[in-house]
Symmetry: C2
Subunit: 362 residues, 2 copies
């Protein structure tokens, strides 16, 4: 017999968000639309999310006092990034707030070896991989997986950082050095034809909602464009959704989750990685679906019924990085372009400043 | 030769809003999405709009210091209600901020005699009316317009307040007393079959965008439901849009304007009243159109090109008043219901707490 579910959060309740970037900002806006108050925790004063929320606590993510205040102020707490210290989650839970997604999802998403082990355990295939704790492991791994293979730190990598291709055993020492000689994973190369992603949500009651797939195009290791709903056959769609469900149920997950998939072009899908949060490849839902991924996440963590996931537009989502945001004046004049700007003051090169959703009839 | 237009506001600029209620809140959310910072002026601390904005100045709407600060902080200032003192607008303009809509629109909207005189002047028909400054005027007016006729204060009425039906000359003295013996207007009864409204916008450059019409159902003098796009024939649609354009151009208007129309059922449309702001009967655009009235207003006052106004869903917008907001738990479970809650703490009887947009395929 499982414990009874806590009651749904009523409008007027406060939701805490760790992280004040664009994902926190769009989560906050969705929460406000449902009548919730939002408090942000972020070390950067006047953060993009803080500026559209009732309050911001300016402190480090592991500051116990700040976490205590956030936990006591908020009836539910969530986060915009997966590298939340486990100790922070424990501290928040202590203060009485519901924290979602939970510690298990974070632990899995924070370590690439844990992640792939978990995925394979729930029947979600990945590339072959070998944990690497030293140069010997790396050499043995290259032998087993063949070359080229991808060496990644187990923890803390994102947007192509902390990873390096190893083309032969001769490059092993340099590669090991390049990633800082830290606990790592060596991944076999996937001969994929394209990258797909699936955004899915699970409610507190176990209800699951899955959006149509997106097809993603990266540039320099960073997402450039998502096309959604992606042109996929019914079998691929079905398989991708089954993978998402297995992951959500396997983690006893609450909230929105992003799953990146390699499409091998022969009917097989491999999971590249999962993100226990709203995901850049789900931004298209803001203008393509009646209930977007941000509202969906808030609904899930608040214990509300999940919203519909059907697309009513085909969307081409494009990230604007660095000074690409200066194109706003041209883009604002196009009636099919929906602008979403993050309110970041400084357009540093490569920084995600905004995205645009180009909408077309289905 | 007219003066050159000021340049469009770039993202990162600050927009000031007078009024921190639900209209200010939804304007603020739209402005944030376009990368603007928002500061609210409202005497009520922690107002619905203040809670989702970068800052709030807590002061009366005619406080010169507060207006000076708002004007200096903001590159453009707008308002969520039409009863802004003319002196406040002058003070803001002095501080260097662009104020839109301008003083002419406010003056016309604040006085029912001015309003109808202006409307008739631009070819927008209204009911017959007589200015009433005393009981004698009222009696003469009843003689001229027939009974029943509607006696309204010239200024400050809204949602059916400050008005009374006069069914015969014998009721004149009581009616005059009931509205406080203030400068008034007596309006002939319009034998209308339904109320329509049209939401339209005009940019700084004179560009005009008009949304499809809505059909409105009132209850106790307060808007209950808007159905949009309304079922109207092409001629009515065309006539309503022409009326909106004549008003916008006649006022040299910048921003979104709401026009309430009486449909006489025989092809004639009378203008009931205009609101120089985003309008409750335009809330359906949030889920029916790619660019809603709130973004449209921000685009206009920021000097951006106007967005598209085509509907992609048919919408039934319903206001939730007072404790009707407690229905959220039932409504949240319906996949065709889009909830918009205003974050008001106290559900006083009759208070606008939220609205829901029920979306249907066109």
């Amino acid at each position: 017999m499982s414990a009874p579910l806590p009651p749904a959060l009523a409008p007027g309740a406060t939701i805490g968000i760790l992280g004040g970037g664009q994902l926190g900002r769009m989560l906050s806006q969705a929460a406000s639309r449902l009548g919730f108050n939002v408090v942000i925790l972020d070390p950067e004063e006047n953060s993009p999310a803080g500026r559209v929320s009732q309050g911001q606590i300016v402190a480090a993510y592991d500051n116990p006092t700040a976490l205590g205040v956030l936990g006591q102020t908020s009836q539910a707490v969530t986060f915009e990034f997966e590298n939340v210290p486990a100790s922070s989650v424990a501290k928040l839970a202590e203060s009485g707030a519901l924290v979602a997604p939970g510690p298990r999802a974070l632990a899995v998403a924070q370590d690439r070896v844990e992640e792939k082990t978990f995925l394979n355990g729930v029947g979600a295939t990945t590339v072959d991989f070998v944990p690497v704790d030293g140069l010997d492991d790396l050499l043995a791994g290259l032998e087993r997986l063949g070359t080229p293979a991808l060496l990644k730190t187990r923890r803390d990598g994102y947007d192509g950082k902390g990873q390096v291709w190893v083309r032969s055993a001769r490059e092993a020492a340099d590669a090991w050095n390049a990633i800082g000689e830290r606990p790592a994973i060596l991944e076999a190369r996937a001969a994929f034809t394209r990258e797909l992603s699936v955004i899915a949500a699970r409610g507190r009651d176990g209800q699951i909602a899955v959006y149509p797939l997106g097809e993603n195009i990266h540039k320099g290791g960073v997402l450039k464009t998502t096309l959604a709903p992606a042109a996929v056959d019914a079998k691929t769609e079905k398989r991708a959704k089954a993978i998402a469900k297995a992951i959500l149920n396997g983690l006893d997950y609450v909230g929105v989750l992003g799953v990146e998939l390699f499409d091998l072009g022969d009917g097989r899908l491999l999971v590249n990685e999962i993100a226990p949060r709203v995901h850049n490849t789900g931004h298209w839902t803001q203008d393509g679906c009646v209930c977007d991924q941000f509202e969906q996440h808030i609904r899930a963590i608040a214990g509300w019924p999940l919203g519909p996931t059907t697309a009513h537009f085909r969307v081409e989502m494009t990230n604007l990085l660095g000074d690409e945001v200066d194109q706003w004046t041209r883009l604002a004049a196009k009636p099919d372009m929906r602008l979403h700007l993050y309110g970041k003051a400084e357009a540093r090169p490569g920084r995600k400043m905004a995205h645009v959703n180009r909408v077309k009839a289905l």
